[in-house]
Amino acid sequence: MLNNDFFINTVRFIALVLLQILLLNNINFMGYINPYAYITFILVFPLNANKSLLIFLAFLLGLTIDMFMDSGGVHAAACSFIAYIRPWILKFSFGVSYEHNTIRIGKTSMAQRFSYVGIMVLLHHFILFSLEIFSLQHILLIVKSTLFSGIFTILLVLGLIILFSRKK
């Protein structure tokens, strides 16, 4: 069982990184809007798994993306942040019942899932663009990028979650 989880998550990690760098980074919708759907890895990581492990893997995921995008450590920072606050967001969106391992993200109601994905994606993007642009003068650009890319990412992530959960 443990080996199975390990295998699935390794494949997911590599597949999402490749999807991000080879396909999604080249979309450039309206010049600058790209979805960052690789964070699906953090969102669907087993809910009862070790939290420290998730934070570390999220950091590694972000750093891999940073390496491909030459963006310093902005993705790593944003990823480790949402991995760290994930338990609180889960509690907020799904109620305390998630702690009893009864929840499968693929089987929750649409509204709950949307609030979970939406909050996580917007937080991730806001940190990402704040660090990347790194200047208060461009606060409008930060908010604009967060919103536009965020909407794009949320739609894509919801689609990916349906895709991932159908297998079981």
């Binding site: 450039n28 310093g72 450590g73 790593a76 480790s80 790194f134």
Partner: protein, 275 residues
């Protein structure tokens, strides 16, 4: 003592997060400072390999356009060459007399970004092809950026579409010079700042590199003036420059090595030391 250990155990997730977050911030800040040896770049074995695999496939889709560009450049160079040989009084027989200060090497762009505020390119030449940091990169149509990290087989280039980039440029007609920067708004428009008020600025005029740095030869094409703005009470123009290059579509580029760079820098440092 026990209290401290309990504290660590209780907050291990937070401490781990804090630790990793600080490392990421460190990487981020390091990437914001211009000249520094960076750890996290796409000039390495893994990322370079994957990007060159990707470009070996996607290359075929743009072949026609790229060929057209190269043919256009050949045409321009041929024209210059014929002018030169008509005007030359004494022909240069031996190529060793042609001691150009600059050496050009070809390279292919295997990764290119233009939608962020800090954009980089990755090219398929590295240390083993004698590429080193601070060499200039141009395309058939004009300036692209400066090499900022190298590995064995790959190098990353700080694009002119990067808020950290600042390149000496001048008006072709009048020799007034300023700095070329980018305000992140449009990948085809860069800004030329600090052009003195006295300069005759006309929309449509050509802007070229200034040759005050050791990186680019003088007179490499940059773009044309699209719009200008002189603020009330300011002594300097801010110009919008429409780039000749389509920065969103780059494949074949040249890396420029200035053979005298070391000598010039050494001399300048020596002068600075004396002062």
């Amino acid at each position: 003592m026990q209290q401290i250990i309990y504290f660590f155990i209780r907050n291990k997730n937070f401490l781990l997060f804090l630790f990793l977050f600080v490392i990421s911030l460190f990487f981020t800040i390091q990437s914001h400072t211009y000249h520094s040896g960076k750890f996290v770049t796409s000039a390495n074995f893994l990322t370079g390999g994957i990007y060159s695999f990707e470009s070996s496939i996607s290359e075929y889709f743009g072949l026609e356009k790229q060929n057209l560009k190269l043919v256009e450049e050949n045409k321009r160079l041929r024209t210059q060459l014929s002018l030169l040989s008509e005007n030359a009084t004494a022909k240069v027989e031996d190529s060793s007399f042609l001691n150009s200060r600059f050496r050009f090497r070809t390279a292919k762009v295997i990764n290119n970004t233009y939608s962020k505020s800090k954009n980089y390119l990755t090219i398929n030449r590295g240390k083993r092809d004698s590429i080193s940091i601070d060499m200039g990169v141009i395309s058939p149509k004009g300036i692209i950026g400066i090499v900022n990290a190298t590995s064995g087989n790959y190098a990353t280039v700080l694009s002119i579409l990067n808020t950290e980039s600042q390149i000496n440029a001048r008006l072709k007609k009048s020799n007034h010079f300023g700095s070329l920067v980018w305000n992140t708004e449009d990948p085809n428009v860069a800004q030329l700042i600090d052009i003195p008020r006295l300069a005759p600025v006309v929309i449509g005029d050509t802007v070229v590199t200034g040759g005050r740095s050791t990186i680019f030869p003088e007179g490499v094409l940059i773009g044309t003036i699209k719009d200008y703005n002189l603020e009330e009470g300011s002594n300097y123009y801010d110009l919008d420059i429409e780039l000749f290059n389509d920065m969103t579509n780059l494949r074949h580029v040249y890396v420029i090595e200035n053979l005298d760079a070391d000598e010039i820098l050494e001399l300048e440092n020596a002068v600075d030391d004396v002062e």
